[in-house]
């Protein structure tokens, strides 16, 4: 549903995109993950016809973004930082205006606006100007606006930035629900956890290029396999725990004294847990928690770029 090949875009001396490829199949969620200034917003702006790339091509819903931008606009919904809603209009007026500008008939617009407002728990605020909305309400109205035309493809530019944890969770539910209903979603995010939770596919971009791509699992595997992690009740027994686990694991154990935690890389799950518990028990170590753990996307970013995601770039978008 979304295909971009070799997108380049420069603003003067700043190279926002340097040959970015993106691809998302129908009904899937593609997360474009990267720090500020990586080129995420520029990529979305090109795919939603707002910016012309210097080079490269893209199709959305089978339509060429450069050749027929207005046909693309009929097929996509956009929500995000850069495409705002009207501060002085009420939530309902905003949705009405956007629906009519999508050229949907007046009665349908009214029905859809009401049902979207209800679905996103905005009915009580529907007749208040947008400037009185909280951050979470705004984001929900943004998403509602993107859905007015029931588009097959939606683009969400950092849909949860600035939301509190509760708002973020409810936004995640809404996005997951959309993809389940067959909508193709491309979203950008700075939050690794968010991509991990939602994405069918992840593209990690940095300085305008894709530096890694795949499912969350594939990316994690790329960084390193699973580890067996044990938390014990008494830190005095950490050396014993370490010895016991190293006998089972693939290589050296990592010990976190403050967290009373020991972990070792393991090749498979087969019988590992039973052997580990038995070995720890024999060594007289009391276990608080034990389990397999895969690396987080934070670790993925660190291992690919050699630096944490937060300070990868300073250029603003």
């Amino acid at each position: 549903m979304i295909e971009a090949i070799g997108l380049h875009k420069s603003f003067g001396e700043t190279h926002a995109l340097r040959g970015l490829d993106l691809s998302a199949a129908e009904g899937t969620i593609l997360c474009v993950l990267g720090p500020n200034g990586a080129g995420k917003t520029t990529a979305v702006r090109i795919l939603t016809t707002l910016t012309h790339p210097d080079a490269g091509s893209a199709t959305v819903a089978g339509i060429d973004v450069l050749k027929d931008p207005s046909a693309v606009r009929r097929k996509v919904g956009v929500a995000g930082q850069y495409a705002s809603l009207d501060e002085l209009l009420t939530g309902r007026e905003n949705l009405g205006m956007i629906g009519r500008l999508y050229r949907i008939s007046g009665t349908t617009v009214k029905e859809r606006a009401s049902s979207l407002l209800a679905r996103f728990e905005l009915t009580d605020a529907a007749n208040r100007p947008l400037k009185t909305y909280s951050g979470g309400m705004r984001r929900r109205l943004d998403l509602a606006a993107a859905l007015m035309a029931r588009p097959p493809v939606i683009f969400l530019d950092e849909p949860t930035t600035g939301l509190d944890p509760k708002g973020r969770l409810s936004m995640w539910d809404l996005i997951a629900e959309l993809a389940k209903g067959g909508t193709t979603v491309l979203m950008t995010t700075q939050y690794l956890e968010e991509a991990d939770q939602l994405a069918d596919d992840i593209v990690v971009i940095d300085h305008g290029r894709a530096i890694a791509r795949g499912t969350a699992d594939e990316l994690k595997r790329q960084v390193g396999g699973e580890r067996l992690e044990v938390v014990i009740d008494n830190p005095r027994y950490l050396p014993e725990a370490r010895r016991a686990l190293e006998a089972i694991g693939e290589s050296e154990a990592r010990v976190d004294e403050a967290a009373k935690r020991v972990s070792v890389p393991v090749a498979s799950h087969d019988g590992v847990l039973t052997r580990a518990i038995r070995a720890l028990d024999d060594a007289g170590v009391h276990v608080d928690d034990i389990g397999f753990r895969r690396p987080t996307l934070d670790e993925v970013f660190l291992s690919i770029t050699g630096k944490p995601a937060e300070d990868a770039a300073e250029v603003s978008e």
Binding site: T48, L50, R73, A83, S84, L88, L89, L101, R103, P129
Partner: protein, 264 residues
């Protein structure tokens, strides 16, 4: 619906949006309500006596200054209201609203026609208010229905043309604040180096040469002829040509600059 029909509908949608803005922030109307009222009253009562006696202005049996001055204030107010389009457009550009519109399958130029049509309504409101206040303090437009209607039509045409100059300026200049400054520096002197408040014949030759030929003077003079039912200035052709000429240049220029700015 045809392309033209959709364009009209989208433009109307934009006008409605702008009218809601006015309803929610009535301060947006101060420049076309309170300030022209103040101008009419201040110029008439503060300067009227002195200037009227000194210059022996045309347009009445007695030297009735308000009859002379009203066309000046009409056109000055319309000019400011028209060019103010730029500030309102620059606001939208700054707040990301334009990107929202550009992501929609609407007629993109409707954003601009909606803006300029709303400003035409603002100009009409300003004329109506000044007309009433003017008549309360002695303005006597004896040009008849046809003459007065033609005068209003000419003023609105002038305002509409300047709105498109405003579109071009709004697309060109980065911030609303900078525009406010430019407007004050450019439009304000232009309204004074004209026949707005005094006849141009007391000005030094070089200044008079400019004042007599600049479009504001020509529009003011023609409005004066039409509202007062006199035929002193005979500027109808020049005034209309100026308005149409400005529109013919500013309309495509405004569209082009706006497209260039928004597709970066």
């Amino acid at each position: 619906m045809s392309g033209f029909g959709w364009w009209l509908r989208d433009s109307w949608e934009m006008v409605l949006r702008n009218l809601i803005h006015i309803k929610r922030t009535p301060e947006l109307l101060l420049d076309v309500t309170l300030s022209p009222i103040m101008f009419v009253i201040l110029f008439n009562f503060v300067f009227g006596g002195a200037i009227g006696r000194l210059v022996g202005v045309e347009g009445g049996e007695e030297a009735n200054y308000i009859n002379y001055m009203m066309s000046g204030i009409f056109v000055q107010t319309i000019a400011f209201a028209g060019i103010y389009t730029s500030v309102l457009l620059a606001n939208d550009l700054q707040k990301g609203m334009i990107d929202r519109f550009r992501s929609l399958p609407m007629a993109q130029s409707a954003v601009l026609t909606g803006r300029t049509l709303t400003d035409l309504l603002r100009a009409l409101l300003a004329v109506a208010i000044m007309w009433v206040v003017g008549m309360l303090v002695g303005f006597r437009p004896e040009g008849g229905i046809v003459g007065n209607a033609a005068a209003i039509g000419l003023m609105l045409l002038f305002g509409f043309a300047l709105s498109w100059v405003g579109v071009a300026a709004g697309a060109l200049v980065r911030t609303p604040e900078a525009l406010q400054g430019i407007i004050f520096a450019v439009v304000f002197p232009l309204t004074f180096v004209s026949s707005a408040f005094v006849p141009t014949d007391t000005m030094p030759d070089w200044l008079r040469w400019f004042a007599d030929r600049q479009p504001m003077t020509l529009v003011m003079n023609e409005v004066r002829d039409l509202t007062l039912g006199i035929d002193v200035y005979d500027a109808e052709l020049a005034a209309v040509l100026w308005c149409v000429g400005v529109l013919v240049v500013a309309f495509p220029l405004g569209l082009w600059l706006y497209n260039r700015r928004t597709t970066q």
